[in-house]
Symmetry: D3
Subunit: 321 residues, 6 copies
């Protein structure tokens, strides 16, 4: 049979059967931590860093997962190995790793009295995630500040990559009502500082210095962290700073980062051009360097993916990312 498989609590199951009980704490409370990775040329990128962040969340949420980082790493590679035959030559592996404390104790009887944490490792082609993004590398996206604010870390800490993110969907719905088709949400936190997108981090460039919000009311993305590395390689300064909408309006360049698309140029905010309204020079440099480092032309690959999938019916925007 030719369906992708997913690791699920010790078993390998077909992807469409990769499901979580309705009594799982994940579904009851959004009480789940997760990671989503990607490969470049089939090689996982920063998998270890992803797993370390995952285990920090597991510890803070006190999920009694009886497994080491190394154990989980092995499972990840097993899943990839099993699925590779189903991937095309150009496909990249996108892993999704989910961990919850499992079904609530009061439902234990449904599971024969035995409950345990839920662990899922799925693996699917990256191309599905970047549908329609290729052309945006040329135009850049338009950042839109919705009314919805980011939940601050003292209420639900976004640094723990958790699944209580309904406000991302609320923000996406809001942004879907703006005119234009290249709008991406950019959330403010309750203090009015730029936080993050709905699943991505944000950067600006001003006078050749790169700035990104302090790592407080945001997910500290792995790609975000990699920008600091790239900047170093390029002899550029990259700083954490409380950023305001004013800073974006008066920036020279801006971009989003996330695992699947790496760096997405942002050329306007609320439809006011940033800098000259074109994709920025530093943005291009970073994309180029990243591509070199991983041996993949990031933009060309995504444009290629897009062509392969162009017949796919477009999802409504708030189901997009």
């Amino acid at each position: 049979m030719n369906q992708r498989i997913v690791y699920l609590n010790g078993e390998f199951v077909p992807e469409k059967d990769a499901k979580i009980s309705i009594y799982d704490s994940a579904l009851m409370f959004g009480d789940m931590v997760f990671e989503m990775t990607r490969s470049f040329n089939k090689k996982q990128f920063k998998l270890r860093e992803h797993l370390e962040r995952l285990f920090a969340g597991i510890r803070i949420l006190r999920i009694p997962l009886d497994m080491t980082i190394e154990d989980l790493e092995v499972i990840c590679y097993q899943v990839i190995e099993k699925n590779e035959p189903l991937f095309t030559r150009t496909d990249e592996h996108r892993l999704m790793i989910n961990v919850s404390r499992g079904p609530l104790a009061i439902y234990a009887h449904v599971f024969g009295g035995k409950i345990q944490p839920t662990l899922v490792v799925a693996d699917f082609p990256l191309k599905w995630t970047v549908v329609g993004m290729g052309k945006l590398y040329d135009t850049g996206v338009n950042a839109v500040i919705p009314s919805q604010r980011a939940v601050p870390s003292y209420l639900i800490d976004p640094k723990i990559k958790n699944r209580s993110r309904i406000y991302y969907q609320m923000a996406n719905i809001e942004v879907s009502q703006y005119k234009g088709d290249r709008n991406w949400a950019l959330l403010l936190d309750p203090d009015g500082f730029i936080a993050e997108g709905t699943g991505d981090n944000f950067f600006i460039v001003k006078n050749r210095t790169i700035y990104t919000p302090e790592g407080r009311n945001i997910l500290r993305g792995i790609s975000r962290q990699y920008i600091f590395e790239l900047a170093k390689q390029l002899n550029l300064v990259c700083l954490e700073k409380n950023l305001e909408v004013y800073d974006v309006y008066t920036a020279d360049e801006a971009f989003y980062t996330a695992t699947p698309f790496c760096i997405m140029p942002c050329t306007s905010i609320n439809n006011v051009p940033i800098g000259d309204g074109k994709v920025g020079e530093i943005t291009k440099l970073l994309l180029k360097k990243w591509s070199e480092n991983v041996g993949v032309d990031i933009v060309e690959q995504i444009k290629l993916f897009n062509k392969e999938l162009e017949k796919v019916e477009g999802p409504t925007p708030y189901q997009f990312k």
Copy 2:
């Protein structure tokens, strides 16, 4: 076959197979609304009110569920009917109704290109939910104010009964570390007002007037609403008011409300007795009236349930409610 069944997107499946795809928006974002009901003497209580609240959430979250309230009501009764043979004579039906917008569009290919909202109606014996609660009707519980604050409505509206509630679990974990075995969390909102428990509402009684927090940073519970009805029947005044910890310390009585246990006396806060530290007179009156109205001695029934299940191993406290 003798396993309970669950309605899942048009089909009736065994309870242990009632699962949600890992690509569902519910699991991705905690982007799901739900209701949980109960019966008294096998008769559903306020099912219509539950469904109306559910549909308000569906509308605000723009879940394209193609179904009326009446349609869903029919399904609920079908599920009950199918499961009744598996319930004992004294069992009550606890329904759990979940609705999400379904798998994210980018994963449509996994589902043959066709994605639709997810609808689940499960039905299980109420007794599982009230494990160990019987004795608390005699002693009352101890309300504990954890450090974790309730997420306010302008960030994630708790009036929409949604599944992005990881902070409930965080609060439960915190409270599990207090000395004593009858501690229930009582959350403050960021303004310092009493909000709610982790799945229940809170009331105090002072000079024979009943008070409960304004319906802002809380779920406006169906049981909470019923207290207003009961108060009317008993010629008591019941008011919404911003309540502070001070008001609880200086109250004569206090109690929690929720669908499974109806009214749970609260006799102390942070271990300081409320009033004389005994279950309050008004609290008892309300419980008595409710029992009369539904023809079930609420407390005795739960004590009976507890006896039936007393061999069950105790769940850890933060998995309790």
Copy 3:
């Protein structure tokens, strides 16, 4: 000569010459209070209430205006009398009354050493203000919550009808970028409560009770106040209450109020229908009663005005109200 005249510091000047010195505190600091009124059948409506509110602002801002309310009332009627010949038979008089403390003292020399408060009374046909609104009485407007929050009263008190309102324009700009052509801004205050539109108040109706935000972070509009009177006449209850977006989503009806258009139905919020998405019954009742009380069919009059002006090129939305 056939140009309308404006009272300006003791003189009557042509409207196009009604100007304020660049050294005036009004222009330097937005340090000016004002009122805008209208007539029904040429008769000023609640002029006295407008002037009383104006004088409250003058007192709090300590503008040394050497004039009584009665004096100013006389001037208002003089201006109307002088302009009436230039108005058509169906025109209504819209007064704009501006008061500032006048040029800053350091520029006194420019004015011969003598500085005094600035007082302006302008008068122009109401029809200009309601351009294009007629059709909205049939469809209702769509309330949009922008990211821009209302400035709360402890920073700049909106109850003083002042001219430091750049955030109204910022909100209008934002809303102009939404899809659709019947979007009106609805501002939240920093607590997440509904405040007001950008120059109008907001009401909802739920179970035949009328609610409007507490008179805190809003202008307490004269039309808003009149709704309480109308409700009384119609035996309806009208209450002040902290309202949230949730309350609007779950309301039966909603409407805006302001002097020029009196009551404007609001039939959706963020494009989600309110109630059945049609103009509400209570809304219609209020409009009808108001029309009766003033002897003018408010809606028909505005539709008539619109026809007269339909050749006028449409202003961009954020310059609209």
Copy 4:
């Protein structure tokens, strides 16, 4: 003719006729950006920086001004040239540049259907602005924290030099009621951090390091920026930092900066001496260096101006700056 002239939308008009229509968005909403400059020895100081800040505001407020920075710069110099004959040999040119989006569209008919942005360039002797300040260079001023808080940037961004500043006047009124005649307002933002004066920036010196509030809830003044340059020239460290009242109480020195008076020593806060209560050494160094750089003894020039104007009747304090 011997009156100063002002550029007003393409024309040069006498200063006393430099007026703005009452229908202008500037007067309606405080919706105007502006700059105020000065010369040293008749030479404009940092005019380019002022204009760049102005154009950032124009872009964010979306004022459709059809003009480049260079165009506006030319106009500025034209105005100066035209007015120079009316200035004394020792006078300095203080420019005021105002830009609004012009009359609201609904009033277009008043202006023949044609509305355009409003642009004003005025030019008057600096001496009027610094009336009575000379002696304060010897004593220093007393900073007073009024109850009025600065409006934070997420509500109305003070980094955009706008005209919705009624709270400056409210603060000035408050401070005018304190005992003493050398009180200057020093505003806190809602977080309790030092923000700015009512038209000036604030600095402290501690252990020879210079500190000024982060550039968030303040206008980032051109003079403020110049302090960083001067510090560099003097081998002093100058840092942005969240400052609290405590930091001012325990500082060694303090001063205000603004274009007309450059640097004003502040020797006490709420009447508690800062350091030894005398004008600070670093403060003097900065004033000296600035004077050297521009070839004008800043303090002596202002003392001279004061003598020339000493017959002028004193304005009330809140009309002062």
Copy 5:
């Protein structure tokens, strides 16, 4: 011997020896609750209510005082009885009752290993507390809003009458720097609502209805509570409401209440007259009714006290109340 005596932990000691150990939690942490009462015609007023509030604080702070309310009441009367011979015929008894948890445990050895709660009951002539107030009943006081905000109840609950009130002194110091000699502090809470004075409550009257701030960020004064009783007797409505500075500016009357002076008219705020700037009619009615009820002309008595003490050197304002 002719010195007043004070009850101190079971003994009666001369007033000047009524002292608390430096190791007492009261001095270490401001960790003490207290009450201050007065008599009318030698008869204690609402002593029971004072003691009940005290015991609420004792319970919340968990001070292990081994005594009933009745016990303490007896002590109060003993102290009065012992001191009465030292009071003049016209003197009234002002009790001060202090309770702390006593010396910190680590200092137990200093006290022979035995530590116990500290209980003090002092009793001195009321006249000392109302020095110089008599004339203010004719002019009314001027309410001044200082920069210092009231500490909100979720940080330190002012409803517990505790001794961590350094911010009262900070506010008093601030107000002492205003021009004029009849300034009384009026604190805002962090939300910008009127809270209380520095030891007194605040009321306004508008259209014959009496309003006072909600009982949240304030001490719920015994005199404040008595105003509700008086209002009832006078057929006036008295309501709790969030009040803002605007409400005070636009009120008809205002007054402060506290135990020693009962009701003090407030005739201006920030020097802007309230109503006509004279002592209000309702204020006078309340004072008259109160006087009748207790058989003492409150104002005349205080004027008499003032004459007796007029030689006393005036304390600095911030040591006043």
Copy 6:
């Protein structure tokens, strides 16, 4: 006579008589500043720094103490000299220096009309303060985040070491109810940042860099300051930073600092191990270096003290520190 003596307003009195009048502003308002020092090998540590901080508080609170730092230093040494004979050879001198503005002016008559600031210098063996702490150097303490938040500096500035700290006791009471016997409170400020313990500062170590909260809503402890010195000596980087609970969860090490115990290892937070849950390497290095610098093995000395006092009955936890 063999009782320790205390300096009290110019006199030397036995320790048990070191008391403050009930009419003192310290007792009335918690209006007192203080310092607590210690010696190493009988030599006072950083006494000068303590006194400088004390005098900053005196200046801000405007306490008219007529004395220089030098004067007070002399008194401190006199007190030590007088008490030394009563100390054992191994005892260290712990000074407590209290300053208030003295009795309130209205009670002046009790003191013969003469009131003056209150100044106390007490001196007692350090060992009493560190009862039971010795064993905690081996296990580390468990940091617990209570619901009680730190009062932020814009309400009551904790940088002024004042006595309005009832919230410390409230936090201690709360923490005393947690399971376990090595719990120490760790307060968040209202922004959700780590502030301080109830009388101590907090540090974490991550990747060999030492971090401590910014000096804003905390007391800037002398021991805290000394950590910066020690870090320098050890070639370690020590930084001020806004820290969140997440940062503590993911730190490698953590510790508290305060004068009596210098550095106390913290090995878990809310019972989740920090790093490997053992006392950290950097923590040990700092303790070792401090010990070397002062010539006292800090830990061994405290363990010795503990043995000497082990018969002492344990105080309840919230009376502990």
